[in-house]
């Protein structure tokens, strides 16, 4: 893993990207601004599941009409995110906020998967109910909490507080960041 990341970091495009005056900020800005499309549509969908907005609109309609925008936003998020990662792979790999964010992305994915494979299949039956099934409300709440935390973690990746070259750190921080300290 480490070797692969070190090789990635040494590729000319990675170096050019990190040193670029315009490209890096533009990619980063695209990542942040696409949040409004991706997270924006996710939030409205989750709030609908919780029954906190658009109550007169069937859930199936909200999901069907917003999901294409969520998907498109997600694709842009992943591509721009991958480009940012590629610009400095070793640093991000050892950043605890980055690691936390990746873990939470898996949680968010699992939550969406369970929701769509489970209760959402019967959306036609409960779509117009004023109070939705418990599973649907839980899925909405989990999604909301996880994505909000992902945004916070993502923002904090920019800070080097717990980077491996900032020592000493508590043992669990070095463990979570996968740092090789002098003791090793």
């Amino acid at each position: 893993m480490k070797g692969l990341l070190e090789w990635l970091e040494s590729t000319p495009w990675s170096i050019a990207l990190l040193e670029s005056l315009w490209v890096w900020p533009l990619v980063e800005s695209a990542h942040v601004l696409t949040l409004t499309i991706f997270f924006g549509t996710v939030v409205m969908n989750d709030l609908r599941l919780l029954g906190w907005t658009m109550k007169s609109v069937p859930v199936s309609e909200v999901t069907k009409r917003l999901l294409p925008w969520t998907r498109a936003g997600f694709v842009v998020m992943v591509i721009t995110g991958a480009v940012i990662f590629y610009s400095n792979p070793v640093r991000y790999y050892h950043n605890i906020f980055f690691r936390f964010k990746m873990l939470l992305l898996i949680v968010a994915g699992l939550n969406a998967f369970v929701f769509h494979r489970g209760i959402h299949r019967k959306v036609a039956q409960w779509g117009k109910d004023l109070v939705l099934p418990r599973e649907a409300r839980i899925a909405g709440a989990v999604s909301l909490i996880v994505w909000v935390t992902i945004i916070m973690a993502g923002r904090l990746i920019a800070y080097n507080w717990f980077d491996c070259d900032i020592q000493p750190q508590p043992g669990f921080v070095n463990w979570a960041a996968g740092c090789l300290t002098g003791a090793n």
């Binding site: 601004l33 409004t36 409205m44 907005t53 658009m54 609109v57 009409r65 923002r155």
Partner: protein
């Protein structure tokens, strides 16, 4: 660029207790920035649901007035959250903002975007517009362009 006579005011902003407290802390600025971003996402959702409808995509089977009524509390909530966190961030680096072109782009388009959005929505609430026309599309495009300028200007404060 603003007149030179405004600079003392911005120096005063930076020396307020809030500005100083944020500057003296390692954590407050990043965390408030994170909350500001969450607010941005929420604002995006509340704006998009209506603007996509005005463009004739998204929830096109709904009447715009209905969607406006549903999303209005979240729109206002997002703006309040963004204003509180944004002012906090601003106070901690007011002098930097004074010299920052992106800040002025953002701060001049922001009131335009807010007035435009609430005027248009008030107008739409009074009419039962069901069909998408070039007029509704124009309103949607203008709204998205205005808010994009505000958000992009905001992001660029950190780079310039």
């Amino acid at each position: 660029m603003p007149p030179e006579t405004w600079l003392p005011l911005f120096e005063w902003f930076e020396n307020t207790s809030v500005g100083t407290a944020v500057r003296n802390s390692l954590w407050i600025f990043p965390v408030v920035e994170g909350i500001h971003l969450i607010g941005l996402g929420l604002l995006g959702g509340a704006i998009l649901v209506v603007d996509l409808r005005l463009l004739g995509v998204g929830l096109k089977r709904q009447v715009p007035a209905e969607l406006i009524r549903h999303t209005q509390p979240w729109l206002i909530g997002a703006i309040v959250l963004l204003a509180v966190t944004g002012i906090t961030l601003f106070l901690s680096e007011a002098v930097k903002c004074y010299y920052n072109t992106s800040f002025w782009v953002k701060i001049t388009t922001l009131p335009i975007a807010i007035i435009f959005t609430f005027t248009v929505r008030k107008w739409l609430l009074q009419r039962l517009i069901v069909d998408t026309s070039w007029q509704t599309r124009l309103l949607g495009v203008l709204s998205l362009a205005l808010w994009f300028t505000v958000a992009a200007g905001g992001r660029w404060i950190g780079y310039s």
